[in-house]
Amino acid sequence: MPGSKNKSRGTLRRKISEKCKFSLFEMFRSLVTSVTNSPACEFAGRILSANGGHITQHRGRRRTLTPVPWLPPVNEHVPKSSVGISKVTKTLLETVIEKENQVASTFANQASHQAATSIADIPASSRRVGLVVRKIGMLPQWTKEGGRILCTILEVDENHVVGVTSPDSWYKASAIGKRKAFNRHGPMWKVTVGATNEDPTNYTSAYRKKFTRAGVPVKETLGCFLVTEDALPLLGQPLDARHFEVGQYVTATGKTIDWGFQGGMHRWGMRGQPTRRTTKSHRRIGSVGSVGDARIWPGKRMPGHMGYEWRTVSGLEIVRINIDKQVIYVKGSVPGDMGEKLLLKDCLQEEKRLKSGPMPTWTPSLETIEEEPESPEEGVVPKNLLFKETFSPKLFRFTSPSIVYTDADAKKAAGRDKTKAKIAKVKK
């Protein structure tokens, strides 16, 4: 057996050296086929992991549970009891923070008014900013046809642009910039968006400095977006839920639910072991490999940390936006638990791409004042009693009466007989 092993590996090496002139992809494919065709299939993994110059098996880390050591800490851990701040100093500090926030918000307002925006066509090459949202729950909504849509509701909580980095400086500054600043879609700017105002005393000065520079209050969460130059927002500009439109498709990225350390049955859906004639092994994974090999193959599914991984769901339709409460209703589900933060951006699928919209982002200058009719119609709820909302035209409005069908709907529901049409086609 050892002889045959060596032999097969030798033939493989020869094949690889022959095909070196081909592209990497070609080589990889040939390698895979040669491996799968050869009788000694069990070396496949070993050969792939043995670095043959180009081929390495990259397994990305699923999650990072500790903050990176080279970045300064974010949270200031000051034991409250030991700090002898007198009441006067405390109130003074509070007023200072309040004033700073006021100044920051006025600055941000000015920034948003300076920004030139328009509802314009969005070329396929441009990328807009996204929003950092919080998932706050799931609700059903109904269509005008009576169909049920389960929606996720996402809160846009005080989003501000915290940083705008040019591709050049990003490239120089970080390893991620080296990878992403000049990608195949052209030079990309990094736009950092912050969400949810927080008490600045809980954060270190290094963290707070970012926000002073941008002139915005200290934020709890930061998210980065790759933005092209034509869709660049201003530094310190507030972002609104109306950045997205009803009927638009979006992509949600976030961390999945953190389940902690879980067994094979929960984590991978393994079967477990029988109830009867089994002791203490009802939920164990069973065998993890063969005897001859005397090792466990890399990638073997085993118990371990489940969830808390970055996941993206794309092609979610926005069906309703509550402008007063800054809440977006999205059809379908998004990764993560309730209360988790997500990144929401335009969907890039060609047929679901946003063709025209508020071009860098939405600003109050785009607000259109709807003219109130002189005498409101009978039986229509006055607008001051309702939230300011935009609805998808297909969505049932709860202010309207119950759905009533007609006989034409019944005919439509019955549909066409497919078997009949097929027979007719054959006869022709």
Binding site: R134, I136, G137, L139, P140, Q141, W142, E145, G146, R148, I153, E155, D157, T196, E198, D199, E220, K255, D258, Y308, N322, K325, V327, D337, M338, G339, E340, G379, V381, P382, L385, F387, F396, F398, T399, S400, P401, S402, I403, V404, Y405, T406, D407, A408, D409, A410, K411, A413, A414
Partner: protein, 287 residues
Amino acid sequence: MFRPAAREVVKLPTRFFSCKSEPTRAAPAKKSTRKELAGLIPAFPEIYPDFLQSPVWNRRNALKEELERQDMLERRMNIDIPEFYVGSIVAVTSSDRNLGSKEHRFVGICIRREKEGLLHQFTLRNTIENIGVEVMYDLYNPTIKKIETLKLEKRLDSDLTYLVDALPEYSTFDFHMEPQAHPAGTPIPVNEVKVKLKNPPWTRRWEILSYRGIEDTWTQATPWFKRKLHKTLVNDYEKYDLIANYRTGSTKEQEVFVQEQMQKFEKERHAAGLTRRRILKSAASHK
């Protein structure tokens, strides 16, 4: 990794925990506050189970509940959703896409009320031509045209799923039943009927579940099961658990808050002159 933001600080419930063994001693008689006099309903959780918070702790979110409540109240302004309990006889008239302009009406006993908010659903059961039929309805589904309570009463249990295994006469109701009016201000009658089950096999092991509305399941139970497990009720220890509903249950503060919101909504709509329909009402309390 869930961390509530500073804004939505979770309010810990402060409530008298009633001791089930000695309720009088554990929960002292509460003074009727000014708030309770102002038209608030003591039996709010029973009448409006859809306005309660989620029993799952991290799904409670004040903003989500506010938006959801807004939709629910709007719907209640358009359709009269009467008071009914598990055990009441209810008729639902809905429009059906397959029937076209014709209406679809179903009458039956309410056997379950589940979930909160817009997700709230209830199940009706009836026997039609000796076939047991159950229909689940979403309370806020816009295809529902009318909900009527034909007979307002409660049963001994808050879940009548066991009617599946009961003799068919316990779940047979006339489709042309006349609605029986409930005299306002009188307490909701409790129908203390004890249901007789069919012979086993049953869909569930009713003999070890603590249902009060079933008559003597133990003698009927299959000997094989009797041999396996002696007469011990499942979750029998729960009666000693003083804080069983500490996390899952609703708090008095929340109930009062929701009722005030409902009253405010009603008042606004009445002032706008759109409708005189009242949302917050109870058959048992006065007026």
